[in-house]
Every structure is written in structure tokens, then in C-alpha cells.
């Protein structure tokens, strides 16, 4: 029987060897926030506490729409009273436009720096250059790279393994970290995405706060993201050839009724990992199944787990 509240022991040990340190280069864009009112204004735009962010710190927050739906999950680099939002490249312009709508008389200016990169080093400590951060469950530090900066020597000096794009995506999905595939598919509140820890419930008002706080005090969210582990052959069969997208795959209940869908999938040589969205509340994990498209290997899902706090149904 599968556990109802987390991954099974057998999957917890699966995943192959773990190097001492891993490194990742994140491709993205930077939205520069400048002006005397930057700190206060940004604090009202993001879910994270920015008001007390110190020079050299990095924090992670969510940008919500006014109904509480997640639009983006920026890293916020604090440089005194200036802030750099490191965001995914795709959608950065739209995010800038959305933020710009909420500047009225504040002394705030936004500008976009496209095609930037950040380097994350697992195990690295914040030292004024790198800022402490967590990426896909890895503890380490992050910094924005200069244009043209070569990372291989930095990574080699530290004896780290540089993850390629595929390995990084696998790490994201394996850790159950939602990203653009999840946010684009459906409007998700932070609690539905298991990202409540990126929300400050004590800092005061921010855009989209009201539905998030109401949900917090009214029980379980209606939708939930879950994490799946499976045989790698099954994971590979869920990917569309060429496009890298996902073939139709339903999450079903015991009766065979579709109650959710797969939003992200990836695999390494040993395991397959996926993130799925449950569209309704009220399911325990031991009643869920994966119904892959025709021709996919049967069975082979070994674990389901809620992302974030398990619901109280």
C-alpha cells in the first residue's frame, strides 16, 4: 500500500549516486527595480518579505495576479536599495509590463536585461558575492553571472558537477518544485502549488493577498500539485517526441475517473519523475493511478506524494 502522506521508503533511496556538489547555470532575464520607493513598492508586489532584505541577500517570492494566481517565481537579489528580479526568460517581458501597471506616482523605474544567467553552487556559503539560496532541494548559494563569464573554471575549482538542462529539469521535477509548465496550464494559488513557504502572512498587503489569506483560513485548496515517481520507461513514454511536450496522461481515482493530469515529466537512467495536478480535493494518495496513453508501459508508478503540506481534506 502506498503511503498517504509522502514518498515510500523504497523510492526515497532511489535516484542513483549524488555527487558532493552540483552546480547549475540558470538562464533568465533580470527586471531591474530602481528608485527611492523600490523597496516598499516591491514589497507590495511580491509575496515574500522584502522590507527587511539586506544588501547581498537573495529571497524568493511569488508574483501573483490580483486573484491570487501565480504568474512567476522570481529570485530577488537585494543590492542596497536596488533590486534585481531574476526570472525565467520566457514571459519576462509580460511580467515587466504587468509590474509596470502598478507604478503610479512612486519613484520606481523598471528595466529589462534579457539573456542573463545565474550560477547556483550546491554547498556554497553566502560570502558577499554568492547569496545563500535553495534550488530544487539543494542548499547552496547563487549569483548573477557577468556577461560572457565562463563558469566551467568556477565549477571545476570547487569540484562540482555542472548539471545540463535535462538534468536540471529532472532535479526540478524530482524535488516537486512547480515551474512554468504548472503555472501556465492553470491558475494556481500558492497553497495549491505547495509554495506557501514563499508567502509572508505577516508583512502586510501585497497584490493577490486576499484570496490567498482567505484560503489559508478556510481549509484545503481545491486543486493540488502532486509528485510521482515511476519507471523511467513510463516517464519517457509520456513525453512527446520532438516537441518535448507531454502526451495526454490522466491521473485517475479507483473508479477510473480522471481527477487530474500530468504537467511535467522527466527521467534519468534509473527513475522517472513527474508533477501532476489534482483538479479536485478529497483524494488520498493510495487511491490514485496513472492512465497513460495507448502503448505506454502499464503500471510502474511507484509513488505519489503531495507537494507541500498534505491536505486535511
Amino acid at each position: 500500500m502506498r503511503p498517504s502522506n509522502g514518498l515510500s521508503k523504497c523510492t526515497a533511496r532511489i535516484g542513483g549516486y549524488t555527487p558532493l556538489m552540483r552546480a547549475a547555470v540558470l538562464e533568465g532575464s533580470i527586471i531591474e527595480v530602481r528608485g527611492d520607493d523600490s523597496r516598499e513598492w516591491l514589497n507590495g508586489q511580491l509575496t515574500a518579505q522584502i522590507a527587511d532584505a539586506k544588501d547581498g541577500e537573495v529571497r524568493r517570492g511569488l508574483k501573483l495576479d490580483r486573484t491570487g494566481g501565480i504568474l512567476a517565481m522570481p529570485w530577488v537579489f537585494c543590492r542596497g536599495e536596488e533590486f534585481d528580479l531574476f526570472v525565467e526568460r520566457e514571459g519576462a517581458k509580460e511580467l515587466l509590463e504587468d509590474l509596470d501597471r502598478y507604478i503610479i506616482m512612486e519613484d520606481v523605474e523598471l528595466s529589462l536585461r534579457e539573456d542573463t544567467r545565474a550560477l547556483f553552487l550546491e554547498g556554497e556559503r553566502g560570502d558577499g558575492i554568492f547569496a545563500r539560496a535553495t534550488l530544487y532541494g539543494m542548499e547552496g548559494a547563487i549569483r548573477i553571472l557577468e556577461e560572457g563569464e565562463i563558469v566551467e573554471s568556477i565549477v571545476q575549482t570547487r569540484g562540482a558537477e555542472l548539471l545540463d538542462g535535462q538534468a536540471l529539469e529532472t532535479a526540478r521535477i524530482r524535488s516537486g518544485t512547480p515551474g512554468r509548465p504548472e503555472f501556465e496550464r492553470r491558475r494556481l494559488l500558492p497553497q495549491e502549488a505547495g509554495l506557501k513557504e514563499l508567502v509572508s502572512f505577516t508583512k502586510g498587503c501585497f497584490l493577490g493577498q486576499e484570496p490567498v489569506v482567505m484560503l489559508e483560513h478556510r481549509g484545503s485548496p481545491p486543486k493540488r500539485l502532486i509528485r510521482l515517481e515511476m519507471e523511467p520507461t513510463l516517464a519517457r513514454s509520456l513525453k512527446s517526441e520532438g516537441t518535448g511536450g507531454i502526451k495526454g496522461a490522466d491521473i485517475t481515482d479507483d473508479t477510473g475517473a480522471a481527477v487530474g493530469e500530468i504537467t511535467s515529466v522527466s527521467s534519468n537512467d534509473e527513475r522517472g519523475f513527474a508533477i501532476g495536478l489534482l483538479r479536485k480535493r478529497g483524494f488520498t494518495l493510495d487511491t490514485l493511478h496513472l492512465r497513460a496513453s495507448e502503448g505506454a508501459p502499464s503500471a510502474a508508478v511507484t509513488a505519489f506524494a503531495f507537494i507541500g503540506e498534505p491536505p486535511d481534506n
Binding site: 516598499e40 513598492w41 507590495g44 508586489q45 490580483r66 501597471r101 502598478y102 507604478i103 503610479i104 506616482m105 512612486e106 520606481v108 498587503c205 501585497f206 497584490l207 493577490g208 493577498q209 486576499e210
Partner: protein, 108 residues
């Protein structure tokens, strides 16, 4: 269209001005980015205005509004309400598509 105070709101503004010993100052109304719904209202007293300000007088109270804020406030009536859950100025803004529960912010 202008911005108006209800008689009750105007009386409250005058009362506060008297208390603060600034009986001649105007009421500055502006919109800021922030709050649960994206935009929030801001009220304070000010004795200076610029050529770019919109200027109104409602029930004897001068009102200044900057051009940017005016785009979001045109046609607004400001009331003063008292209830069991508190008292304060209430904005009846025809341009607001939605407001948050406490009424301090709106979306446009």
C-alpha cells in the same frame, strides 16, 4: 467629471484639519501601486500644488490630485462611514473593477 466629498466626509476632513491645526490645507488624494487588489488610495493634507494637479473644491474643502492618479479616480465620491468594524473614508470609484474586502485597495 470631478472628485467629490459627501457632506459627511467633508465635515470629517474639516474636523481633522482643525485638530491638526492646519485649517487652510487642501486634501491631497492619490493612488499608489499596492494593496491586495493592485492599487490603493492615499489621503493626506498638503498646502502646495503644481500646475499638473487637478484642483477641485467640494463642500468647502480644496482637493488636489496629480494627473496620474486622476486617471484612476475620475468620478469618485469619497464618503466617511462609521460601523461596528471601524470608521474611515470610503471611496466609491466608478473605475474600480473590484475592491478588496477592507476597501482600501482596488483593481482597475
Amino acid at each position: 467629471m470631478s472628485i467629490q466629498l459627501t457632506p459627511r466626509a467633508a465635515e470629517k476632513v474639516k474636523e481633522i484639519r482643525e485638530l491638526e491645526q492646519i485649517p487652510e490645507e487642501a486634501l491631497r488624494v492619490r493612488v499608489l501601486g499596492g494593496g491586495c487588489s493592485g492599487f490603493s488610495y492615499d489621503l493626506f493634507f498638503e498646502d502646495e500644488h503644481t500646475e499638473l494637479d487637478q484642483k477641485f473644491v467640494s463642500h468647502g474643502v480644496p482637493i488636489y490630485i496629480d494627473m496620474m492618479s486622476y486617471q484612476y479616480l475620475e468620478g469618485t465620491e469619497i464618503d466617511y462611514v462609521e460601523g461596528l468594524h471601524g470608521a474611515g473614508f470610503k471611496f466609491i470609484n466608478p473605475q474600480a473593477q473590484a475592491t478588496c474586502g477592507c476597501g482600501s485597495s482596488f483593481s482597475a
